[in-house]
């Protein structure tokens, strides 16, 4: 396909936002978006893992295709992702223990974040080259962070509002997400 790099970035960030349009990365989206202070670092960490995963997936795909081992694709992608997350964990623990503690259990959970595996799978399916893949994963990660931050900001405000007890909790977050998703639909066609 002949999308330009800019189009890929804008689409991944806004028009086809990973969370609000493609439904990837919902578990952390609903789980970590309670506070802005945890939401933003989580988004950045996930973006970083997505970049690493995209890079490795691109290389792995070249290797697997060369040896006609396409059926090992899924298993090798997920193993690479799990290893990347382990690596990021070790690096964070050493160089930023405060952040490591703040993210807590959510850091290893990036492994099961559909968005990370989703990036690898989508870039393979759309046959993006190296630059396109990197742009796609960066845009996707930025879009994920954007959605997370937006959600966290609104939820923090809502904690001080008079919400009916019935709706409190996940139901409210989902309705919020629905409205956010609706508004992001307005970006359709932005990427040309």
């Amino acid at each position: 396909m002949h999308e330009t790099t800019f189009q890929i970035f804008i689409n991944a960030l806004l028009a086809n936002n990973f969370v609000l349009a493609m439904f990837l990365g919902l578990c952390p989206f609903l789980g970590v978006s309670g506070k802005l202070d945890t939401a933003f670092p989580m988004g950045v960490a996930t973006t970083f893992v997505m970049l690493v995963a995209s890079l490795c997936a691109y290389g792995l795909n070249l290797l697997l295709t060369a040896f006609h081992l396409e059926f090992l694709r899924l298993i090798s992608y997920i193993v690479i992702i799990a290893s990347s997350v382990q690596l990021v964990e070790m690096v964070l623990k050493k160089y930023s223990p405060a952040l490591f503690r703040a993210l807590g259990i959510y850091l290893p959970l990036i492994t099961t974040n559909c968005a990370v595996l989703g990036v690898a799978l989508f870039q393979t399916a759309r046959e993006y080259d190296f630059i396109q893949s990197m742009t796609f994963s960066f845009g996707g990660g930025a879009g994920f962070t954007l959605a997370l931050v937006l959600m966290a900001s609104v939820r923090e405000r809502l904690q001080l509002s008079d919400v009916p007890g019935l709706a409190q909790g996940t139901a409210l977050s989902l309705m919020l997400a629905g409205i956010l998703s609706l508004s992001f639909m307005g970006f359709a066609g932005l990427g040309g």
């Binding site: 396909m1 002949h2 999308e3 689409n11 086809n16 059926f71 298993i75 359709a188 990427g191």
Partner: protein
């Protein structure tokens, strides 16, 4: 690693670290079992999957070239020549399907194109008739557009009429299309190489135009000079 303690079964005694050998042994065993399962599944379903793909492809080609009775797969290679499709896909090659009637004469060529629509890629198969150098029909191979809006590209009769004779002539140098196939705003179609978009479904309509144009630009300059090579079924 404490090598003289009992191995993995006592892993719930916290201070005992598992010997590396036990870990390697387990990982090796798991990999072997899983490898067998994956390969078994792949081999077991290979024929059925290939058959499904072939049926889907044939259905699409027969739809866009109605007079077709049999199909041959070809590649238009980067250098400008044509080769029959084999097991390997040459780099930079454009795949197309040559459709023949029951006496083996070429009645049309079908090719697939894709472009990004509203939600995801829209894949279109179009039928090209060498005699009129035009595209005579399209079919949607796959799409995930909005039901009731984007999927009108299948049902909207006016939109389908765009493709009764869509101009796809090559320019004088035979290096590209004489006129770029483009989707224009609903109601502003002025020439035979333009596609009138569906009102309210511009993005999906544009994807169709782009898909056809991209593939035609890549394929036709290589195909047209070699038409005589595929004139009859070989």
């Amino acid at each position: 690693m404490s090598a003289d303690h009992p191995t993995a079964n006592q892993a719930n005694q916290a201070p005992v670290a598992t010997p590396t050998l036990a870990m390697i042994r387990t990982l090796g065993l798991v990999s072997a079992i899983c490898g067998l399962i994956i390969v078994g599944a792949y081999q077991g379903t290979y024929d059925a999957v290939a058959a499904n793909k072939r049926i889907a492809m044939e259905r699409a080609v027969f739809k866009v070239v109605p007079a077709a009775k049999s199909i041959e797969e070809y590649y238009a290679l980067a250098g400008g020549s044509i080769a029959k499709a084999g097991a390997e896909t040459p780099a930079g090659a454009a795949k197309f399907f040559a459709a023949y009637d029951d006496v083996g004469k070429l009645v049309g060529v079908a090719a697939e194109g894709g472009a990004k629509g509203y939600a995801d890629t829209v894949r279109i198969m179009f039928g090209y008739e060498p005699a009129c150098q035009c595209i005579k029909g399209i079919g949607v191979v796959s799409m995930r557009e909005t039901p009731g809006i984007g999927d009108k590209i299948i049902t909207d009769k006016e939109f389908q009429a765009n493709f009764k004779e869509l101009d796809a002539r090559l320019n004088a140098e035979m290096a590209a299309l004489a006129n770029e196939i483009k989707t224009v705003k609903h109601g502003t179609k002025a020439s035979n190489w333009q596609i009138d978009a569906i009102s309210g479904a511009t993005i999906t309509s544009r994807a169709v135009g782009k898909a056809i144009n991209d593939t035609a630009q890549a394929l036709l300059p290589r195909l047209v000079p070699n038409l005589d090579k595929i004139g009859s079924k070989s």
